[in-house]
Symmetry: C2
Subunit: 190 residues, 2 copies
Amino acid sequence: MAKSVLGRGTARARVLEAALAKFAEHGVSGTTLQMIADSIGVGKASVYYQFRSKEDIVAAAAQPMFDDMARVVTIAEAISDPDARREVTISGFLEFSVRHRRLSAVLARDPALESLVQSREDLTEIVDRFTNLLIGDGTRPEGRILISFVTHGIYGSVTDKALEDVSDEELHRTLLAVAQQLTRKAPHFE
Amino acid sequence: MAKSVLGRGTARARVLEAALAKFAEHGVSGTTLQMIADSIGVGKASVYYQFRSKEDIVAAAAQPMFDDMARVVTIAEAISDPDARREVTISGFLEFSVRHRRLSAVLARDPALESLVQSREDLTEIVDRFTNLLIGDGTRPEGRILISFVTHGIYGSVTDKALEDVSDEELHRTLLAVAQQLTRKAPHFE
DNA sequence: GTCTATAAATTGATAGAC
DNA sequence: GTCTATCAATTTATAGAC
């Protein structure tokens, strides 16, 4: 029996699902435990039975995204050719961004996530290695701007409410084409 | 004597500047009036002497961005050719995004801003007209994805801390080239 | 314009019954 | 696993002195 990452159907999973929905709508700081409890029809104390603190909920909700990021990092770092390495990194980034869509991707632009990463060594390491794969050493401003543009473009698109009707497949296909057009064989990197 | 939009040097302007800095760092919901007051060395009551409420501060801080957006809308709507119209819209968007940089652009991805827009007719109208200029009618999914990608790429890049050392000029020039490469003469629109 | 003091509501979090 | 009740701290916001 395959168990979901979040433990599908459990009380804990219901809290995480509700929390993610609220985080996406109001941001982490704008979401109270009361909102989360209300949206699943339980009291606040019940939420605290599943998680020690609000930060714990944020961490648990974001974990799948960091797991995916770690997988991409492991795979990409094994590639020696710089261009191929960056292409695999961006492709992997796009894949897990689409996979989580409104879930983890929204958390990526929340100030609370930055605090979380800074407070945990393991997350800091993953994010740093991931950033290094994207930017690398000695990249010129043009290349750095391009990378920033592509990653933010991907994050923004997958979480865009105006694109909710677009299927994961079409979104992935279109974004991959755009990202590759911008970064493949680009003379912006040195 | 030219007066700044925010009224440079006044107590009111100091509050707005401090507020924007905190909003950028912690998000609107994550910023308290205490933080704002502390960062300019005054009491909370002094902040309330300048603004009726926290929402008022958010509105005043974001106003310059909406003013610029309104200007772009007015100019672009006067253009009859659809392709030229969209190009001018994106170019104008890029210009005021870079002009405000860490200021208004950060607010653009804060959930509190969406609430503000929804609560004020005038802002809703401007944003709707701006969105229409970008997307228009009957645009295929590919085109909508591309527009989302470009706008979010621009917003993300200008607010990226890793690009703080890049000058406004270089940022503007590079992003314009990228945006035009993606949207000019594109067969994705119909 | 700024301060101190305080109100009124909400927040994250805990204790203990069922 | 959920509930009621509650706490301590914080938050937005106001009143009134200087």
